[in-house]
């Protein structure tokens, strides 16, 4: 049946008949199928998304528009959102990634905001052969990574937006289904924000930008809303092709057209192209719309109404102008050499009428189509609890074992190793606002120049985080960690977290256990966002991330935005001066051991530590074990630590700050040494001597990943003040060592060395590992 080929179920078809009062024609069926696709309609996620906090003092625009908007002071707002482009990036990595970046940039400037920064959260299969990964798989994963990285770079670099941060992770589950999530941030004046609501009966509807071709037809419905099979490569023609130069023209022309005051509403044509933009604008505005497809600029001949309505050709916009002033808008687009054509007008009565050469090709009530689509309460079932015992968990090395060799191996693992080989392919400094690019601070930091005077006062910090492994073990706790880490990263740059955006990557919603993961993750996100004061202002849901019936790890990725009131107070991770004191800040407060969370019997029983440690990067890299539980999380402790970091930054009390996350305390300390080379100091890098004394097993102390902690350094003269501020926030500040000049890296545990090396040796393993793996393609 033709409806089934469109992914429309029997019940949905009946609903269509009910709305129209008749059978749909083929164009109408196409329109319903994309609008009601999982990708566009959120039909399986809607009932759960309602549980997320979306309001806050600073939230100007929550979910539902092209991007979320928050107030950042001085009459300015920030628009930001994260979105996935996973399936296209597997089918065609380069174009999939470029159009992912292009799509999210359009969402930002559609709101009237000039894009300031892009971040990416990427997940690939393993790039080196090993357990569950053949050499052939690894080579393929390297090719996918290479294409995605080139794609992201090629688009952002040409467009002229700095790609300032993000993260990259590797797990076998992403081998057949990589994740490409792109986040963009833009700035606008508060009173100049644009919305996508068609208004004013009789106002002209203008099509601008690239011509419409046959590319990307059914991208949203067939590519993004179904799982992968052996035949998925045949879907390559469904992938769109990006043109960053065209997008740059579109950006400048749209912002200039908005300045004329003649633009009433604007919506980009992303997923589901002309269909989505016309229907949603009319639906949101409570109006109708009438357009003539014969007037739509076309790149190919003989296109049918069906093809024109469903094309996902990139770099196109639909806008509504004030009647009688359309020439002002058209003139701007002409100046930039872009097609701009009046294709119809806003009408009364709520009907969207699509004409083609004088014949009606489709006639649909816009609001029921856009807002009254199917909503599913999919069945939910928790998976059978995994029964584990001590033999499934990581076995700690006996006391006295040297851990230097394991540490080198951990530093060279793709997850921990420097991502410089990737990030250097991105323009990170264009627009001269980047105060902290990739790896310089825990969050990416861009300053805000006043649009008129160029004067800099504030800066914005952004971080994206998500830990699929932890979410696989416990989706609720894993999701909480994602929020906590993103917010902690922002705080460790000195900024106050104010809002969040999320990209929820999951398997098929038709599987009850995937819906259980989704529902649990939503509850975790909601709890963490509430506790940390970061309402969700937008994002997207990406289901059907599975191939041949196997789902990815549930991977909610969170982007947290923060404000730094004084742009000159950015905290970076690099140690700065010989003799500085190294302090571990711990939000769990006095009495927590470094290896475990507060509230446990101290020392915590080893089996408990082992269970938690089995989900760490170290356990995966050194023992090949992924089991147990994510580290216990205490959101109040996270909040205390973050508030403490923000206060320390505002006072200028610290030389450096770096949160403890992947790879634990030892990796954090080493990274602060490595970064000292690039911090304007002449090589060799600064070193560190650290002495630890604790009851827990040494590996859990050095490599455990429990949250609410950060490594900071400060000059000895400010130590007393640092300790005092920490006390005010009930954060334990433990002095653990010194920054040294001669470039050794030494950690002693109960008086005997457990890691003893030079910074150069460690740095070599960390800095060149990815390059060695990827350049050897």
């Amino acid at each position: 049946m033709i409806a089934a080929e469109h992914g429309v179920t029997r019940e949905e078809y009946a609903r269509i008949q009910q709305i129209l009062g008749r059978d749909p024609n083929i164009t109408e069926l196409g329109i319903f199928s994309v609008m009601w696709s999982e990708h566009c309609s959120y039909k399986s996620s809607k009932v759960h998304l309602k549980r997320l906090p979306t309001r806050g003092k600073l939230v100007v625009q929550g979910p539902g528009e092209n991007a979320g908007v928050v107030d950042i002071g001085d009459g300015l707002v920030a628009a930001f959102k994260i979105e996935s482009h996973n399936h296209p990036s597997y089918v065609e990595p380069f174009q999939g990634a470029t159009t992912g970046v292009g799509g999210i940039l359009r969402d930002i400037f559609t709101m009237g905001a000039r894009p300031m920064a892009v971040l990416n959260s990427l997940r690939f299969g393993e790039i080196t052969p090993g357990k569950n990964t053949t050499e052939e798989d690894a080579a393929k994963n390297r090719r996918v990574l290479d294409g995605v990285v080139r794609g992201i770079g090629s688009y952002g670099n040409c467009f002229g937006v700095p790609t300032v941060g993000g993260e990259v992770g590797f797990e076998p589950c992403y081998s057949q289904n990589p994740l490409v999530n792109a986040l963009a941030l833009g700035i606008a004046k508060k009173e100049e924000i644009f919305l996508a609501k068609a208004k004013g009966i009789g106002n002209p509807v203008i099509y601008v930008g690239a011509k419409t071709g046959r590319d990307g037809i059914h991208g949203a419905s067939l590519l993004a809303s179904a799982e992968f099979t052996e035949e998925s490569k045949q879907k390559r023609p469904n992938v769109q092709v990006g043109d960053p130069f065209m997008e740059k023209l579109l950006l400048e022309a749209c912002l200039e057209a908005m300045q004329t005051g003649a633009v009433v509403a604007i919506q980009d044509m992303g997923a589901a192209g002309l269909t989505c933009s016309t229907m949603e604008m009319a639906s949101r505005g409570g109006t109708g719309i009438e357009i003539d497809l014969a007037k739509v600029p076309q790149r190919e001949t003989g296109m049918t109404p069906y093809e024109i309505m469903l094309s996902e050709s990139q770099e196109r916009m639909l806008l509504v102008a004030e009647k009688g002033r359309e020439h002002e808008v058209l003139a701007v687009f002409k100046k930039w050499g872009l097609d701009a054509v009046v294709v119809g007008d806003v009408t009364e009565g709520g009907i969207a009428r699509i004409n083609n050469n004088g014949r009606v090709a489709a006639e649909i009530p816009a609001h029921p189509l856009a807002e009254e689509g199917p909503v599913y309460r999919r069945p939910i079932a928790a998976p059978a609890p995994h029964v584990e015992s001590e033999k499934d968990w990581f076995a700690f090395a006996p006391e006295g074992t040297s851990l230097t060799a394991n540490f080198v191996k951990l530093l060279a693992s793709p997850a921990i190793a420097s991502k410089r080989w990737i990030t250097e392919q991105y323009d990170t400094s264009v627009r001269t606002n980047t105060l902290a690019g990739p790896g310089a601070s825990d969050a990416a930091v861009v300053r805000i120049k006043d649009p008129k005077t160029g004067v800099v006062k504030r800066a914005l910090a952004l971080s994206t985080d998500g830990n699929g492994r932890w979410c696989q073990l416990n989706p609720r706790v894993g999701a909480m960690h994602a929020v906590a880490e993103a917010a902690r990263n922002v705080a460790a740059s000195g900024a106050r977290p104010i809002a969040a955006t999320n990209c929820l990557n999951f398997g098929s919603p038709e599987k009850p256990e995937v819906m259980w993961q989704f529902s649990e993750a939503i509850d975790g996100l909601a709890e963490a966002c509430n506790a940390l004061g970061t309402p969700i202002t937008g994002g997207n849901v990406s289901f059907y991330n599975e191939t041949l019936g196997k789902s990815i790890y549930p991977t909610p990725v969170i982007g947290v935005l923060g404000i730094l009131d004084d742009a000159s107070r950015v905290l970076k991770i690099a140690f700065r001066s010989e003799g500085d004191v190294i302090v571990v800040l711990d939000g769990f407060g006095v009495g927590a051991t470094l290896g475990s969370a507060a509230g446990w019997v101290s020392p915590a029983p080893t089996w408990r530590l082992a269970r938690e440690f089995s989900s760490s990067e170290y356990s995966k890299t050194i023992a090949g074990i992924l089991a147990g539980e994510p580290p216990a999380i205490d959101l109040a402790a996270e909040k205390r630590l973050q508030d403490c970091l923000i206060a320390l930054a505002a006072e200028g009390a610290l030389q450096s700050a770096h949160d403890i996350s992947d790879g634990g305390l030892a990796v954090t300390l080493a990274e602060s040494c490595f970064a000292s080379v690039g911090a304007g100091l002449t090589p060799p890098a600064l070193g560190a001597i650290v002495r630890l004394d604790d009851a827990a097993p040494v590996e859990s102390i050095l490599f455990g990943e429990r949250g609410a902690r950060a490594v900071v350094s400060g000059s000895p003269t400010k130590l007393a003040r640092v300790l005092e501020i920490a006390r005010q926030y009930s954060v334990e500040a433990r002095e653990v060592g010194q920054v040294i000049r001669e470039g050794s890296f030494r950690i002693k545990y109960k008086g005997s060395p457990v890691i003893d090396s030079t910074v150069d040796t460690l740095r070599d393993a960390w800095a060149h590992s990815l390059e060695r793996t990827l350049a050897a393609k």
Partner: protein
Amino acid sequence: MKFGVVVFPGSNCDHDAFYAIGNVLQKPVEFIWHQSENLANCDAIILPGGFSYGDYLRTGAIARFSPVMKSVEKFAKSGGMVLGICNGFQILCEAGLLPGAMMRNSGLRFICRHVHIRVEQTDTPFTNAAQKGQILKIPIAHSDGNYNCDEATLANLEKNRQLIFRYTTSDGSDDTAGNPNGAVRNIAGVCNRERNVAGLMPHPERAVESALGSNEGLVIFRSMIEALVGAAKATA
């Protein structure tokens, strides 16, 4: 004294050059649209970085035919000061205002990082405020910065002291090790024989405040300002 920053439709460092001159150095500056043949009485022209017309063909290949470039050529031939940065350098080579051509980076990838360049000549309006041998830390961001030319041209460039910037390491000890893109003889920037037109691949406009990681690009704009002040005095 007035600077002009040319805006091609795909320029994306135009605002940065404008900010460096107008906000950081507080000198008069205005944008010049690519379809204009009027250089608005500017005393120095900057061709900024970016992707002029998309550069899908060859970097700068289409830009050289733009209306504004006709005027820039005339301006340069009459002794006017023209600086091309990154894409601007590529355009000046395509337009024949500077010798040589750009190839794809030797690593075949886009590279964005801070590099070090040595000021080789100080008797140009772009380097007169610098010390000979001074090392500047300035970022690059390009795919096609692998400068090349034939042997005869190279010999002339050396003889006429037109190689004004060379890549090197932070301590100036190893030029080849500091070369990010394979450029012949580690060339980062050249000027014409008359010394009034120059191009370089690194972005001095991105190195104008220490908060950005370096302010060592300022010396290039300061040199231009000094040269313009000197020229104004000479004609007064």
